[in-house]
């Protein structure tokens, strides 16, 4: 077995052990200081099986694509990682209400910067995407004066990472359709949760203590429809369609990861995490993705034609 494969296996095993300790040992206690690890004991084994399946999927993706060029990190990737992260940090800082206040509508936060990790992931691969999202979010928050929140950095990293997984599939059309289905199902599920929990408050700092508005709850559907429009309007230009659909999946999975982790970190309920945090963040992001990512992909294609690289 080569060294890289052993490394990946070891890190996955470590993650599994951490989960086992948290779920089986800490899960029985109600809460531990600021953390809440309590796990429903009746479905404990079932939940643990899901963790194992998740890790197996991660390993399978790596194992079957390990010869793929998308995982390579050379000089170009190092520079692109830095550029992506710096751009994401600068744009987040500028649009976090410092230089511009992008008018925010009915408790929806607007973060145009989100197009950067999606575009960098799609154009330059999952590793560049992950670094741009995670490190860019870290520096952006530090510049604004928010401090760090590691789970949101990882979530932002996942956005770029998943956007970059488009490169791993040979058949772009087929993979795009699968991605559309998966994202559609996730969007519908979260919106259903919203309609069953209409009284949950918007979890973001700047929103007043009001329940999540209908508009905020439904932005994810609006975003999904916009992505669908882009997907079929640019059916002839596969690059734009694929960048937008994969960016959408990245956005849904990444933000879902960050909000669900708040169940453990801040002791939120499932409804508070999904309705209060996920929907007001992920929905508007999708609208930005559907509009700004095609612009970036189109402009980059023109640059490539000109420079021949």
């Amino acid at each position: 077995m080569d060294k890289k494969l052993t490394n990946v296996l070891v890190s996955l095993a470590v993650i599994l052990v951490i989960f086992a300790v948290v779920m089986f040992a800490l899960g029985t206690t109600k809460s531990l200081g600021p953390f809440n690890f309590s796990v429903d004991q009746a479905t404990l084994v079932m939940r643990f099986v899901f963790v194992i399946i998740g890790l197996l999927i991660a390993f399978a993706v790596y194992y079957f694509t390990r010869e793929n060029a998308a995982w390579e990190v050379g000089t170009r990737e190092v520079v692109w990682m830095a550029i992506g992260a710096a751009l994401y940090a600068v744009f987040s800082w500028l649009f976090n209400g410092t230089v511009f206040v992008v008018p925010s509508l009915s408790q929806v936060s607007l973060r145009p910067a989100i197009a950067i990790p999606m575009f960098f992931g799609y154009a330059f691969g999952p590793v560049v995407g992950f670094f741009s999202g995670a490190v860019g979010n870290m520096f952006g928050d530090a510049l604004t004066g928010f401090g760090l929140s590691p789970q949101w950095s990882i979530g932002n990293g996942l956005i770029g990472f998943i956007a970059g997984m488009a490169l791993l599939f040979k058949d772009k059309k087929k993979s795009m359709d699968t991605v559309l289905w998966v994202s559609g199902v996730l969007a519908v599920l979260t919106v259903l949760l919203f309609f069953f929990n209409r009284d949950v408050q918007n979890g973001f700092y700047f929103a007043a203590s009001e329940p999540v508005s209908i508009f905020a709850g439904l932005t994810i559907v609006i975003g999904f429809v916009l992505v669908l429009v882009v997907r079929f309007a640019f059916a002839s230009n596969e690059n734009i369609a694929a960048a937008v659909t994969w960016g959408m999946l990245g956005n849904i999975v990444g933000i879902l990861f960050a909000s669900l982790s708040d169940i453990f970190i801040n002791g939120f309920s499932l409804a508070a995490a999904v309705v209060g945090e996920f929907l007001p963040a992920a929905g508007p992001n999708l609208i930005f993705a559907a509009i700004l990512v095609p612009l970036l992909v189109g402009a980059y294609a023109a640059v490539q034609r000109q420079s021949g690289r």
Partner: protein
């Protein structure tokens, strides 16, 4: 062309007396310890540490003026917002004691603007201000006191792999440059009649308006990267283990600093688990409010 942060070597500066790796570790410990507390009594020592660091850093006021005014405004804005709406504290305190209720003498479509000043809200605002401001002071000072030539070796010294350390180094160097590029692009677009501030059109039209700012800056950065990539390739980047021009060595003071940081962190973590440092309001005030 790269633009740099306003770093300069400062004599007798406390931050610069330490090894940058030790300082970053101390900073992380400080940050995560602060986040464990909402009790203003526990937050005050952190605030004092931050102020000591600020006043011994020898950074001149005019250098950090802009950044500071912005942060102070930002922290104030959010503190006042949470104070007015009561938002943010609701997970932390359950019961509110009213000091005074201000009611507007007019009504807008049947809605009378009312402001409830409660003990909890006021103290939550104070705690929040102290907490966020301590973190902000410590964060702002880093770019002013960390030598750009040492970024790479600092991250390498924190056990990151060569390539990631170099990418972090480049990221920190690119941030001020892209900030400048953004400003230039915006001025250029304004000169051509571009108006971002003009709010008109629907959501989609407004988002599209951002295109002329985001696209040129991003594409310009990518085109510019070719020169950097060529320069790095010509120097055989990534072929073997990397050596760095400067070397860092830990002194005794650095070990002491890291030890103090770790100690603060462990104490805070244990305190947090035991349940110390939760949101606190002086009981006298509650009595005063008639609770």
């Amino acid at each position: 062309m790269l633009v740099a942060w306003r770093y300069s070597k400062r004599e007798k500066s406390l931050i610069q007396w330490f090894d940058p790796r030790a300082w970053i570790m101390f900073y992380l410990c400080f940050l995560f310890s602060t986040l464990a507390y909402w009790d203003v009594r526990y937050l005050l020592p952190f605030f004092v540490i931050a102020l000591i660091v600020l006043f011994t850093s020898r950074v001149k006021w005019w250098e950090i003026r802009r950044a500071f005014i912005f942060i102070i405004g930002f922290v104030f804005f959010f503190t006042i917002l949470t104070f007015l709406t009561g938002r943010g504290g609701t997970e932390i305190y359950k019961q509110e004691h009213l000091i005074r209720q201000l009611r507007a003498s007019f009504s807008i479509f049947g809605w009378v603007p009312t402001l409830d000043i409660t003990v909890e809200r006021s103290f939550f605002a104070v705690s929040q201000f102290v907490r966020v401001f301590s973190i902000a002071i410590m964060t702002i000072l880093i770019p002013y006191s960390l030598n750009p030539a040492l970024y790479g070796i600092t991250f390498k010294g924190l056990r990151l792999p060569d390539k990631i350390a170099y990418a972090m180094d480049l990221t920190m160097r690119f941030i001020p440059t892209f900030g400048r590029d953004f400003q230039l692009t915006m001025d250029a677009q304004r000169a051509r009649g571009y108006e971002l501030e003009k709010i008109s059109g629907g959501l989609i039209a407004q988002v599209r308006k951002l295109g002329p700012l985001i696209v040129p800056v991003t594409i310009h950065a990518i085109i510019g990267s070719e020169d950097i990539i060529d320069a790095m390739d010509l120097r055989a980047f990534g072929v073997g283990p990397r050596t760095w021009l400067d070397q860092l060595t830990y002194h005794r003071r650095d070990r002491i600093l890291v030890a103090i940081g770790v100690l603060i962190f462990v104490v805070s973590l244990v305190g947090g688990f035991v349940g110390l440092g939760k949101f606190w309001v002086p009981p006298e005030l509650i009595k005063l409010a008639g609770g």
